[in-house]
């Protein structure tokens, strides 16, 4: 009986020791696991990433995100335009074009190298008058220089007869945009040091009497600072003039058009 009791005590002591050892192992395991958690987590995340790749969101979902972003940008643009308009009214500056526009199909293009023109399928019957500015997605493309009842001819900004007052947004320097018959018009600066660099955005000038102000025209492609009497810059029009199918006529009279 005493032997049995001794065996029992010895057994329970062993079990207790085993329990303590297990506890220690568990504690050490937990500490090690917590120390290696990030490494193991990284490994598991990578493995999960590889295994779940076929179920990742595809281009369609990405397109939804892009569309949502574009929508947000449009909303922000509308808000900024309204704010800009309100501030211009407060300061007393001439306002840019807003609503009074007419969409017109392009029915004829430049028939040869020496003409830079478009013919639109809308005319005086639709409210178009000589001198109205014409824009396309991207920015200004030209002005109306001839109009019949149902057609209107647009002299493009790339035509040698075209001259439009513009200014560089970043530097606030004004210049005269002249066509040369090629796809890229030339910007002649008024000042000797316009500090313009390739990539600068050019818009129509508020001082211009031919077109409403603030219409994007293009981006400076390169600058020739050695030209006399003032530097010149070659401009890449922001509207794809060669591939325009529909244009928008701004039915807004400019000071030049006033009788």
């Amino acid at each position: 009986m005493a032997g049995l009791r001794k065996d029992f005590r010895h057994g329970s002591r062993q079990a207790q020791r085993r329990r303590v050892r297990l506890l220690w192992f568990s504690l050490i395991g937990l500490v090690l696991a917590s120390l290696l958690r990030q490494t193991i987590g990284g490994f598991l995340a990578e493995t999960y990433g590889i295994l779940s790749r076929p179920f990742w969101p595809g281009p369609a979902q990405f397109q939804w995100v892009r569309e949502a972003e574009e929508l947000a940008d449009v909303e922000r643009l509308i808000f900024l335009e309204r704010e800009n308009q309100r501030l211009k009214e407060l300061v007393g500056l001439p306002t840019t074009y807003q609503d009074n526009t007419l969409k017109a199909p392009v029915i004829a293009r430049s028939p040869a190298v020496w003409w830079q023109q478009l013919t639109l399928g809308r005319g005086s019957r639709h409210g178009i008058r000589l001198g109205h500015a014409v824009v396309a997605p991207g920015g200004l493309i030209g002005r109306i220089t001839a109009v019949t009842a149902n057609t209107a001819q647009v002299t493009l900004i790339t035509d040698p007869t075209s001259r439009i007052g513009v200014f560089v947004v970043r530097t606030n320097h004004h210049g005269l945009l002249s066509g040369l018959g090629t796809n890229r018009p030339v910007l002649r600066f008024v000042t000797e040091n316009p500090r313009t660099i390739p990539g600068d955005v050019v818009v129509t000038s508020a001082a211009s009497t031919l077109v409403p102000s603030g219409i994007p025209v293009g981006v400076v492609q390169n600058v020739d600072g050695n030209r006399a009497p003032a530097p010149e810059a070659v401009l890449q029009p922001s509207a794809p003039i060669d591939s325009i199918e529909w244009a928008e006529v701004l039915l807004q009279d400019t000071p030049e058009m006033a009788p």
Binding site: V113, Q117, T145, D159, P160, R163
Partner: protein, 198 residues
């Protein structure tokens, strides 16, 4: 007295329709018929076979009709009429020779290239002169060579240099299409004319 030549009605009809098509193609300038953004000179492609088959007088009439139509539909004071008239007269004089021997496609291409260059060069000279004359004075008005359609702020040399590459490109594109378009038209008019035996 030599009797005036009477053109078959079918020839006049087809000639008129194809001439109108050439004018329409010049104005429409479809993108699928452009090479590197450059359109062929459709009026030259039409005028070449017309003048070669019908002679100088008919060629001149065609040139005046097409040149004047295009001039009225374009902005600016320069006109393609002079170049087209010159070409019609020159090609019309070759009628006798080509009436006996059909021009081969290479000849047609060469003639079309030279024709396109000639028309564009006459336009270039006009713009060159107008730019040089109008830039110093900048006074527009009736009776003056300067008009609102004259180049402004450029020297004639600058205008010419800018358009030179386009002129050459248009000539190449016209030359590429000539063996197809002009040769077919020439054969068609010989057949409608009835005076030529293949």
């Amino acid at each position: 007295m030599k009797p005036a030549k009477v053109w078959p009605q079918s020839l006049l009809l087809v000639g008129g329709i194809t001439g109108l098509a050439a004018l329409m193609l010049s104005l429409l300038s479809p993108s699928w018929l452009r090479l590197g953004g450059i359109s062929p000179n459709w009026l030259v492609l039409w005028l070449l076979p017309w003048s070669l088959s019908q002679g100088s007088h008919a060629g001149l009439m065609g040139a005046v009709f097409l040149g004047f139509s295009l001039e009225t539909l374009t902005i600016g004071a320069a006109t393609p009429l002079y170049g087209l008239g010159l070409l019609a007269w020159l090609w019309g004089r070759l009628r006798r020779y080509y009436h006996l021997n059909h021009p081969n496609p290479l000849t047609m291409a060469t003639q079309a290239i030279l024709g396109s260059l000639a028309v564009d060069l006459t336009l270039m000279v006009q713009l060159h002169l107008m730019a040089d004359l109008c830039s110093p004075q900048m006074q527009f008005g009736p009776g003056s060579l300067c008009s609102h359609g004259a180049p402004v702020g450029w020297s004639g040399g600058e205008i010419a240099a800018a358009g030179l590459y386009g002129t050459m490109a248009a000539a190449v594109v016209t030359g590429l299409l000539a063996p197809l378009v002009s040769t077919v038209l020439l054969r068609l008019w010989y057949r409608l004319d009835g005076s030529h035996h293949d």
